[in-house]
């Protein structure tokens, strides 16, 4: 009794709160801890003849593993180089120079982060392919039959680098925004040349953030599935994420042990980068005094503005344009021209049952995930803020795990946990939409939990105490006092979940089954079947839907604070 008391809080923790804490522990335990635990157990399983760690030794010594590991490491590092070069230059230019249309420019720079990987990859394929609707008229497209130059390690690194560039951009931009004006003004009064101010004062202060952003980009690259799937599989460049996918697709559950080991390697790479980032942030971050923020009065020279718009055009506008133009081609193989442009592809995909089903599934699944995650995040954040205890603190932390590890790992963990028939019912969740939903619930919970918990932490604890003293019960307190105080954050977080879940591919690629397609899976399989024009049409439709959600989120974000990456 006493031990249970301590675990769930202290004497102040009421009976209802205890029950709630137990229910939340059960929930997080079932959807997060158990699947990830299964994955660990599987990876450490003995071999067929019972050798200690046999599965792990076999997998680690295989050549395919070595190649995938090496590709993942080198291509991720190369992509980080692209992200840092692009993101760093753009962040410095936007942060240090005054120019017109800065907000529009910032939004376009962040676009690669908002567009799902598979759509980005597809857009680049269309842009640089032999049939490119933009390069062909200019005579710049690769010669027919020469293959797409992006189906290569170089292509993967380039596209991932561009996709994750906003992570570096955001980090450096934030550091520049917090740069105190005094530092720069003191240097200018001491007659130090602007070039030196940049090199010796501004850059050193932003360096830790740049490194942190780079490590975040590395983590994202290691876990990326969409780009390696669309570029690496046809290009025969295996990465860890795609190797897991291909092994599971090819050999089914019998490959579980091997892929669990691959997933473990993937997790270790991602977690190592994040741990290094935490270390850097702790030791390198300079204590900077608060003060008036630095705002440059220097106007961007025309050449610099031109260069930036050109970069943004290439990064964000051209690929999407190529995608749209491809989707307007009446049939595969027909070169694009204004005369042939038609909405035939859209008519075809909208008439296609599978596509309609995919849109319905993705909408349903992402909305359900957002709703349930918000409903779970509210009481969890409440307990973590108002009734902290070791048990609640532990699930608050563990709930973060599925977002930290690569999505492929989460999907695999779900298969390992829910492929065997559920005890009691005898039904397996694999092959139903439920397994995808559970994966979404586990992976996306932090997207709403973090902002809600932050809002709860910032609130006045006396609001709840006053209600308690007034004798108001837990459910009314939660519904009428706590929920309204964190509602904007919860709404913004929920919209972020809908946006992320609706277009994700990583989880559903491993978990989907016929009848349970998602939009991401649809794009991937249409492209895989060679129907790239239909894939382009579906991508354009899903991107339009995404932009509509962005607008909605922006509207809510005005009240919800800076939960959204392009605000602030």
């Amino acid at each position: 009794m006493a031990a249970e008391l301590r675990l769930l809080g202290d004497q102040r923790t009421g009976g209802g709160e205890r029950l709630l804490a137990i229910a939340l522990c059960a929930y997080v335990g079932l959807i997060t801890i158990w699947p990830l635990g299964q994955l660990l157990l599987t990876a450490f399983r003995p071999g067929d003849e019972g050798q200690l760690l046999g599965v792990m030794r076999d997998t680690l010594s295989s050549r395919a593993t070595g190649r995938a590991f090496w590709n993942t490491l080198t291509l991720s590092l190369m992509s980080v180089a692209v992200s840092v070069t692009l993101g760093g230059a753009l962040a410095l230019a936007v942060g240090l120079l005054r120019m017109a249309f800065r907000a529009a420019l910032s939004f376009l720079i962040l676009m690669p982060l908002i567009i799902p990987s598979q759509v980005t990859a597809l857009a680049w394929i269309e842009l640089l392919g032999t049939q490119s609707p933009i390069l062909s008229p200019l005579g710049l497209a690769p010669a027919p039959g020469s293959g797409n130059p992006l189906y290569s390690g170089f292509g993967i690194a380039l596209v991932m680098g561009i996709e994750h560039m906003p992570l570096v951009f955001i980090a450096i931009r934030a550091a520049l925004k917090s740069l105190p004006a005094d530092l720069v003004e003191a240097a200018r009064i001491a007659a130090i040349a602007p070039r030196l101010v940049l090199a010796r004062i501004i850059l050193p202060v932003t360096l830790p953030s740049a490194l942190a952003g780079a490590l975040l980009a590395f983590t994202a690259a290691v876990g990326n599935f969409g780009v390696p799937a669309l570029l690496g599989i046809p290009g025969r460049v295996p990465m860890l994420t795609t190797l897991i996918y291909q092994r599971l697709n090819g050999f089914g559950p019998s490959a579980a042990g091997q892929v669990a080991v691959l997933a473990l390697i993937l997790t270790l790479m991602a977690v190592a980068a994040l741990a290094l980032r935490g270390l850097l942030m702790r030791h390198l971050t300079m204590r900077i005094e608060d003060g008036r923020r630095f705002r440059s009065g220097r106007r961007a020279p025309l050449w610099a503005q031109g260069l930036m718009w050109a970069a943004v055009l290439v990064i964000a506008v051209l690929p999407l344009t190529a995608l749209v133009l491809t989707s307007l081609v009446p049939a595969i193989g027909v070169p694009f021209s204004v005369e042939v442009a038609s909405l035939e592809q859209y008519r075809a995909v909208l008439a296609n049952d599978a596509v309609a089903r995919a849109f319905a599934n993705s909408l349903m699944l992402s909305c359900a995930a957002a709703l349930i995650c918000a409903l779970v995040a509210l009481p969890l954040a409440y307990l973590a803020t108002h009734r902290p205890g070791p048990a609640v603190a532990a699930i608050d932390l563990l709930a973060e795990a599925p977002w930290v590890v690569p999505g492929t790992v989460v999907a695999l963990a779900m298969i390992l946990a829910f492929l065997p028939p559920l005890p009691g019912i005898g039904v397996s969740l694999y092959g139903t939409a439920a397994i995808i939903l559970i994966a979404y619930l586990a992976r996306f919970l932090p997207l709403v939990l973090r902002p809600v918990a932050a809002a709860a932490q910032g609130g006045d604890p006396a609001l709840d105490e006053a209600a308690r003293i007034a004798g108001i019960g837990l459910s009314v307190r939660l519904g009428r006092i706590f929920a309204p105080s964190v509602l904007p954050a919860a709404l913004a977080g929920a919209v972020l979940i809908v946006m992320t879940a609706m277009n994700e591919l990583t989880l559903s690629a491993l978990l989907w089954s016929s009848g349970q397609e998602t939009i991401g899976v649809m794009v991937f399989s249409l492209q895989y079947e060679g129907n790239s024009t239909a894939a382009a049409a579906v991508s354009v439709l899903s991107t339009l839907l995404l932009f509509a959600l962005c607008a909605l989120a922006d509207l809510l974000g005005r009240r919800g604070g800076d939960v959204l990456p392009w605000r602030g």
């Binding site: 006396a462 105490e465 003293i469 007034a470 009314v476």
Partner: protein, 366 residues
């Protein structure tokens, strides 16, 4: 209305002791002020009484009902109390009326009773015309009234006030103090008010508990604290009191014969023969006609309230300086005599001040 009894309450946060062995005995209908410098543990004690903190040891009774004790913890919602927070903690998504009404609704009071009570509270607090405003549309004083109306609407037997005047300006503070006295008289509810401002405490409380360093130094009426301090801390804290080291020769019928410096005098007190503290206020010092009880050197003078406030350094005493009001200007470094016309004598243990007040027990409602 309970008679509140606390015994041996102790509380630590992260190994820092914030409350030691708190004993308190408060009669029904009292108005207690918990007074002390910041960090003395007064808010923690209030939150223990409210049930918002759990003590490490000790017991708490409201009348015959054990609220806190071994294996017993009555949650705040079942203690039948009201509380006004320093931040007021008004629920921002509800109007003033909604704030007052909410707990009554949650208790499923019949609508007619509920409305009558809400109207009564709004009227009593002069809030009728503000009833439909949200907290952010109200001034500090108005929020304070809403918070009071909200806690009193439940007709609590005990009302806890946590530094309720800290966020108000001086003028509003005086009006609210008068309001507290009126409400206390009108409701008969026991009030416990936390404050660091002794004028505030003196103005409203029937009893004051002076706290320092997690301990109750003394509980008494305002006059007790002023005239008969139990510890040197209380003597120095209340109205900028002065303590002079003295030697007590004999004690008879509550009067102590003592020497201070080389002067001798007889004053009331609780001291035993030996080393003692003479506790004084500025009003107990007067310039002597002749040699006086103390000899002192004039350091400086300020003209204040029609007299010359004179800062002097007493000779042969280990004290910094004293201030005495005199009628004429005096040259710096001149010598004057000072008479002591009153005071209270307490023990000065070689081990330091005594741990707790001799009687933290209050007998009657003053």
């Amino acid at each position: 209305m309970p008679h509140i009894r606390a015994s041996g309450l102790a509380k630590s946060f992260d190994r820092t002791r914030v409350l030691h062995d708190i004993d308190l005995d408060l009669p029904e209908g009292a108005f207690l002020a918990l007074l002390g410098p910041s960090g003395c543990g007064k808010t923690t004690l209030l939150r223990l009484i409210a049930g918002l903190e759990v003590p490490d040891a000790g017991q708490l009774h409201f009348g015959d009902r054990m609220i806190l004790g071994p294996n017993r913890f009555v949650p705040p919602e079942d203690r039948n109390l009201g509380m006004v927070f320093q931040s007021y903690a008004l629920w921002p998504n509800m109007t003033a009326r909604g704030n007052v009404e909410f707990a009554l609704k949650a208790r499923r009071l019949p609508a007619a009773d509920r409305n009558a009570r809400v109207e009564e509270m709004l009227r009593a607090m002069g809030l009728v015309h503000l009833a439909d405003r949200r907290p952010h549309e109200l001034s500090g004083g108005q929020r304070q009234r809403v918070a009071l109306a909200r806690s009193l609407a439940l007709r609590p037997s005990l009302l806890l006030l946590d530094e309720p005047l800290a966020n108000l300006d001086a003028h509003l503070r005086h009006r609210m103090l008068a309001e507290f006295r009126r409400l206390h008289a009108a409701t008969g509810t026991t009030f416990v008010l936390v404050t660091h401002d002794q004028d505030e405490a003196m103005a409203v409380a029937s009893h004051i508990a002076v706290m320092d360093d997690g301990r109750i130094q003394q509980v008494g009426t305002p006059e007790d604290l002023y005239r008969r301090p139990a510890t040197p801390m209380v003597a120095r804290f209340i109205d900028h009191g002065i303590t002079l080291p003295v030697t007590v020769a004999t004690v008879r019928d509550g009067r102590c014969d003592l020497t201070v410096g080389d002067g001798a005098l007889s004053l009331p007190g609780s001291a035993r023969p030996g080393r003692g503290w003479l506790c004084l206020h500025r009003a107990d010092l007067r310039q002597a006609e002749g040699r006086g009880h103390l000899q002192a050197e004039v350091l400086s003078q300020t003209f204040l309230h029609g007299r010359y406030l004179t800062h002097v350094l007493p000779q042969g005493l280990e004290v910094d300086s004293l201030s005495v009001a005199v009628d004429r200007p005096l040259p710096v470094q001149s010598r004057i005599g000072i008479d002591i016309t009153g005071g209270w004598v307490i023990d000065r243990d070689p081990q330091g001040p005594r741990r707790t007040a001799p009687a933290a027990m209050v007998h009657a409602h003053a």
